[in-house]
């Protein structure tokens, strides 16, 4: 093997410039892969963190996943019962025994829970109407399940308690209504109740849908507005360990019967987009590596043609077809390895370069720069791709070299 490596080195250094070009090709492919992955993964990680930060890890809702079983179905579990036109029972909607459930949840390790009432409302200021989701909350509990306090750009959650009918709205919502801190707007509920509410805080999460269409008030105030006294229609849960959200959600749903969604379930659409995004990234950078692989194919092919005589000589000396094939395969893999090493270094430089870029605009992250993810696994993956591409690219010329008939070569030269 050492001998084959020495021979491979001799042949590659002979075509140094061409070898360098193809190694550069691989290196660029690897570097772009690493840099693109850093941007995409950085953004995705930020986005997921935002989702996790802004929305609760688990939400318990005042609905059930399946319609309640009808008496006829319960009476004849094995019979073919079909009940048409089942209407939801006319009862006060909301989570039953919410206080008790919150107490049970809070007793669990690493779990914080907060009851809220979310209700649709129309916020009116002068002649402008904006429909918004108004969340009634208890500031002390809510603080433990949500990061909304960190996104406040004016006022605090506690200010809700200091004013009779205080409301906190998203910055974008405030712009749309044309209101500012201290202004008083009218909140209209679907039931017809109207409340005058004073803006005591503004927030900016970076997620447009939230900033444009959400408001917060005290739970009691929201219950009055919605005309649903003592009703809670969601319990928000935050976990110490985010990864436990899905199994715990299933556990809670099984125990309480209320529909319980983890953050993964609620953001399934966005997570799907990420999957597609990653597929696109992999195909584009894969294409770069593919082109680079052709460069390697080219070099190895040229070396094979140029070294026809040497191949014949090695065969006459007693090298087997397998030896010759390995000799050229090794050259491809060495080129791939060099490309991967240079590419990793180049990729790291590109990431640091990107980190210096400032957009000069107000991005959602509020930082005006790329969010970069520096993960060693990306480097390893890119290197692995490069090596495989290089090895595959050298297989064909290596096979051709191994099949060369030394007699024909020697005869041609003599």
């Amino acid at each position: 093997m050492r001998l084959l490596l020495d021979l491979a080195r001799g042949m590659l250094t002979r075509r140094l410039r061409q070898t360098l070009v193809s190694v550069t090709g691989i290196a660029l492919g690897v570097a772009f892969f690493i840099a693109t992955a850093a941007i995409m993964r950085g953004f995705q990680t930020y986005f997921v963190t935002q989702i996790i930060d802004v929305s609760p890890h688990i939400t318990i809702k005042d609905e059930t996943r399946r319609p309640t079983a009808q008496a006829a179905e319960l009476a004849h579990p094995d019979g073919a019962v079909l009940v048409h036109g089942v209407k939801p029972r006319d009862r006060v909607r909301g989570i039953r025994n919410a206080g008790q459930k919150v107490a049970i949840l809070e007793a669990m390790e690493g779990v914080a829970a907060a009851p809220v009432l979310q209700a649709q409302s129309l916020l009116r200021y002068g002649s402008r109407d904006v429909s918004a989701v108004l969340t009634g909350l208890e500031p002390d509990r809510h603080r433990r399940v949500s990061n909304i306090e960190e996104d406040m750009i004016a006022g605090t959650l506690d200010d809700l308690r200091r004013s009779a009918n205080g409301i906190i709205v998203g910055e974008a919502l405030a712009w749309r209504l044309g209101i500012g801190m201290g202004d008083t707007l009218s909140a209209v509920a679907p039931s017809g109740t109207v409340l005058s509410m004073k803006v005591v805080g503004l927030f900016r999460t970076g997620i447009q849908a939230v900033d444009q269409g959400h408001g917060f008030a005290l739970l009691k105030v929201a219950q009055v507005l919605a005309d649903r006294p003592n009703v809670v229609n969601q319990i928000l849960i935050r976990l110490a360990d985010v990864t436990q959200a899905e199994p715990l959600a299933r556990q809670i749903e099984a125990r309480f019967g209320d529909r319980t969604e983890s953050w993964e379930e609620q953001s399934a659409n966005i997570l799907t987009v990420f999957v597609i995004q990653n597929a696109i990234m992999f195909s584009v950078t894969g294409a770069i590596l593919l082109v680079a692989a052709f460069g390697i194919y080219n070099v190895i092919s040229t070396v094979v043609i140029e070294k026809t005589r040497d191949i014949a000589i090695l065969k006459s000396l007693g090298f087997t077809e397998g030896d010759i094939q390995l000799l050229f395969l090794v050259q491809g893999i060495v080129a791939g390895l060099l490309g991967a090493l240079v590419g990793c270094a180049l990729g790291a430089l590109m990431i640091e370069g990107l980190a210096l870029v400032r957009f000069g605009v107000n991005t959602p992250s509020g930082q005006g720069q790329f969010l970069l993810d520096r993960d060693i696994r990306v480097y390893l993956l890119a290197s692995l791709f490069a090596m495989i591409a290089a090895a595959l690219a050298s297989v064909i010329p290596a096979r051709r070299a191994s099949r060369l008939d030394p007699v024909q070569v020697v005869r041609g030269a003599a």
């Binding site: 001998l3 065969k315 006459s316 007693g318 087997t320 077809e321 030896d323 007699v407 020697v410 030269a413």
Partner: protein
């Protein structure tokens, strides 16, 4: 038959015929025995099949019909990898062009077959290669690349490489074709010494009648057929 009962001859061709797929016959029905210590010159006009016969004897090519036996072993059905193993261990080739690997020094070129065989390692392998180079007066040029050597030195280096694994048989195809008469005579001196002093067999293809006269046996080919095969007194150098 001389071989019956005794030690099999080093190399034997039995009715060996080599034809190209599209018809032409290169070598026709050659029966030939090569014994240890023989210095055989294969002569004949251009295109008479001298080289083709040499490739058959050297296991580089397979006969279309007939057999080639190396030390009593029929090679006709051996896989290519085993033929390569036999070439590595028992045979040495010298061609008209030196065919040294241009990226490697004279020493490395001689070391390649030794390292491929893998019987000697490290210093032992180097010592063997240096001894071979030294035997041909190439010790001072051991670290030089082939392009830095003269034509005669290159061919001597190629012979040293052919001898790297101590082969029983050296096959040379017009080894002096590119050399002046002094260097050509030197190459034949080496072959003569290898056969007489070391007991190896040498088969040389040449069109130089004066040099062929120095072999111990001469095989003449015309149109792929052996027309004469006779021992001759080795001419003094």
């Amino acid at each position: 038959m001389a071989a019956s009962g005794g030690v099999p001859p080093l190399l034997e061709a039995r009715g060996a015929t080599r034809r190209l797929p599209d018809g032409p016959v290169l070598v026709r029905d050659v029966n030939m025995i090569v014994r240890a210590g023989e210095f055989i010159a294969v002569t004949g006009p251009s295109g008479s099949g001298k080289s083709s016969l040499l490739y058959l004897l050297g296991l580089l090519d397979r006969p279309s019909e007939g057999h080639v036996l190396l030390e009593g072993q029929d090679t006709a059905r051996l896989p290519a990898s085993e033929l390569a193993g036999l070439r590595l261990a028992r045979l040495g080739f010298v061609f008209q062009f030196h065919f040294l690997l241009p990226e490697f020094t004279a020493l490395d070129n001689v070391l390649i077959p030794i390292r491929r065989r893998g019987l000697l390692h490290g210093a032992a392998a180097r010592n063997r290669a240096m001894a071979l180079l030294d035997a041909f007066g190439l010790a001072p040029a051991a670290q030089k690349l082939p392009e830095q050597l003269s034509g005669g030195m290159r061919q001597r280096c190629a012979i040293a490489r052919a001898l790297a694994n101590d082969p029983a048989l050296i096959l040379a195809d017009e080894p002096t074709g590119n050399l002046d008469s002094v260097n050509a005579a030197a190459v034949f001196d080496i072959f003569s010494r290898l056969t007489r002093e070391e007991g190896r067999a040498v088969v040389v293809v040449t069109h130089d009648a004066a040099l062929a006269a120095r072999a111990s046996r001469r095989v003449h080919l015309v149109d792929g057929v052996v027309v004469s095969d006779a021992a001759q007194a080795e001419a003094p150098s």
